[in-house]
Symmetry: C2
Subunit: 158 residues, 2 copies
């Protein structure tokens, strides 16, 4: 675990997965975006936190957000299943699999979750980007909760 | 990856998880049991293979099987979500999270799935136990398929 990425720094160009476990590419960041990092698909708190971003998608768009990426250190089959579970009718929110934790580690936002989840995972955070630059970083102090990283709270920061 | 466990050997007493990511215990093996190892929850092939074991549960019981354990190198949140997805009405088939791959490695039945799934995973296999001793080991030659490890084929071996 290194230090967290600084405001103004460039989002690392590390490959992640979305629709297929066989295809990997860096996030394509144009305009303002949200990167919402979560400790794990299907975990209780993440499962409660993320619906806020799905439900408020239009409110984020109205604030000028181009894309919302939810990133998790899970494989692409699991993130796809999680998306389908949270949004059976579909959602423009994009669910991203950082299956080797390389993106999360490059952001300096990983944590050791070996005891509970078997390996390294992501801290709970929200990054606002301007293009591929970090314009705001919000890290949840206790990853068991979502307070400052709730969709409602993030909306007030935009 | 070491060699696979031999017929007659004792199932290693390695802790795995079932209902909670915070509770770990070795499998409790009494009488004849099946251990069905799969590469990953929610992956296409496993998602097609495991319903056969759920549907045929009574047929396995009629052949003297005490418990069916489906084991995967996933965390306990994911294996619980997978069970709920495959058996919305519930099933006595037990879904086991080997989140650190320690059980799978102790069986010598792990494989490197870093490129596709981010880390070590389980080969596709079925072990029949007599108490905690291996009485039969069936390993799928190509883990992308399920032929000899299908529920129907395993039933003919009991």
């Amino acid at each position: 675990m290194s230090s967290a990425i600084a405001v103004g720094a460039t989002i690392p160009s590390v490959k992640v997965k979305e629709n297929s476990p066989a295809e990997a590419a860096p996030l394509s960041l144009t305009g303002k975006n949200l990167i919402v990092g979560v400790p794990g698909a299907f975990t209780g708190v993440c499962h409660a936190q993320i619906p806020g971003f799905i439900k408020n998608y239009d409110n984020f768009k109205a604030k000028g957000i181009n894309e919302i990426f939810v990133t998790a250190v899970n494989d692409a089959f699991v993130t796809k299943a999680w998306k389908a579970d949270l949004a059976p009718g579909g959602t423009p929110v994009r669910f991203i699999a950082d299956d080797k934790a390389e993106f999360t580690k490059a952001l300096g936002l990983d944590m050791d979750a070996t005891n509970v989840l078997g390996g390294p995972r992501s801290q709970r955070f929200v990054i606002v980007t301007d293009g591929d630059k970090v314009s705001k970083l919000i890290v949840e102090p206790d990853f068991h909760e979502y307070t400052v990283t709730s969709a409602d709270q993030v909306l007030t920061q935009l």
